[in-house]
């Protein structure tokens, strides 16, 4: 089974059921270096493993890049 979610502005199909932690693993991202926003709310790291991704969710994955 899979569901459609919007990640960083792109619609993607991801496995279902999945938590945000599963989603990061699926995308090959290290949860220690990425901050997750789910439907405009930040999900703190300890809660990534207990927060389920649902069809239609909007997810932002951000990190630090070079800047002034």
């Amino acid at each position: 089974m899979s569901i459609a979610v919007t990640i960083n502005g792109e619609t993607r199909r991801v496995p279902d059921p999945a938590t945000l932690l599963d989603l990061l693993a699926h995308l090959g991202l290290d949860p220690r270096t990425v901050v997750v926003e789910l439907n405009r709310e930040i999900v703190r790291r300890p809660r990534l493993g207990e927060t389920r991704v649902a069809d239609g969710d909007t997810i932002e994955l951000v990190h630090f890049v070079g800047g002034g």
Partner: protein, 272 residues
């Protein structure tokens, strides 16, 4: 015969400055540097090390889902070695800046944010109304706000009143390299504020940094001057020295300017 005033009685290290204190944290270096626009990550890492800076700014951006390796700046800069200061660069509204600040804090290093709310795409000058609104929200949420602003005293005073940990007026527009355009305004802001004043943006070369520090400000933040120098590592070292030189010259207190010459050698004792 030797006099009692031997050179050994002056030890340059005893002229050391007090640490810079912002938001309850102490820093030795008064130079802060950005991490953007370097030609390579190697240049960035070496230049930052050569600058002696402790506070290093970073931006919050989306992860590139197709290129997830080695891309984040943390891959190159250890948060154990540097104090990472997240910025809200690229934000044009207070709401957007608050959102970026929260994301930056969640990355987990500290409660500090270099707050930018930009008002115009051509000049990148700050939207002071949005800046004040975002400052109030973030201060309520426990952030230590370092606010990038223009060289306007009234805005600086309001930012201090709103609870900023430091106020950061520009020397000249971001990335312009035009140097310190209005030393008078910067001096006035420094004289009237109690919180640290860090000049942010516009410094182009070492003399700009030195002149800026000679106005008595607490520090300087720069990025492009290092990243776009032909040799970023050499420029970073030059900037570190210039910031220190300017600071020490300010503390030393300069001689008055005179529009006449005054001889340095005695006028008496000349031969007939």
């Amino acid at each position: 015969m030797t006099g009692t005033l031997s050179p050994e009685t002056v030890r340059p290290d005893t002229l050391a400055d007090a640490p810079l204190s912002i938001g309850g944290r102490q820093f030795r270096s008064r130079l802060m540097v950005g991490t953007g626009k370097y030609r390579s990550n190697g240049d960035m890492v070496r230049a930052i090390a050569a600058s002696g800076a402790e506070i290093v700014t970073v931006a919050v951006r989306r992860v590139d889902l197709d290129r997830t390796k080695e891309e984040g700046v943390l891959y190159h800069l250890s948060p154990d070695r540097y104090f990472l200061l997240a910025n809200t660069a690229g934000c044009y509204t207070a709401d957007e800046a608050v959102r970026y600040a929260r994301l930056g804090r969640e990355a987990g290093f500290n409660d500090f944010v270099k707050l930018e709310v930009i008002g115009d795409r051509e000049t990148l000058l700050p939207d002071t109304e949005g800046l004040l609104a975002a400052t109030r929200t973030l201060v309520r949420e426990g952030f230590q706000v370092l606010a990038y602003t223009n060289d306007d005293l009234i805005t600086a005073l309001r930012l201090e009143e709103a609870g900023c940990a430091a106020v950061m007026p520009l020397a000249s527009p971001i990335g312009s390299g035009l140097g310190l355009i209005n030393p008078y305004s910067i001096r006035t802001i420094k004289r009237r504020l109690s919180v640290p004043v860090i000049v942010d943006a516009g410094v182009g070369t070492a003399s700009d940094a030195c002149l800026t520090m000679e106005q008595g400000v607490d520090g300087i933040l720069m990025n492009t001057a290092l990243a776009e120098a032909a040799d970023p590592v050499a420029m970073a070292r030059a900037m570190g020295l210039a910031v220190e030189a300017g600071r020490l010259a300010y503390l030393a207190g300069r001689m008055p300017r005179r529009e006449i010459a005054v001889p340095s050698s005695p006028t008496r004792g000349m031969l007939e």
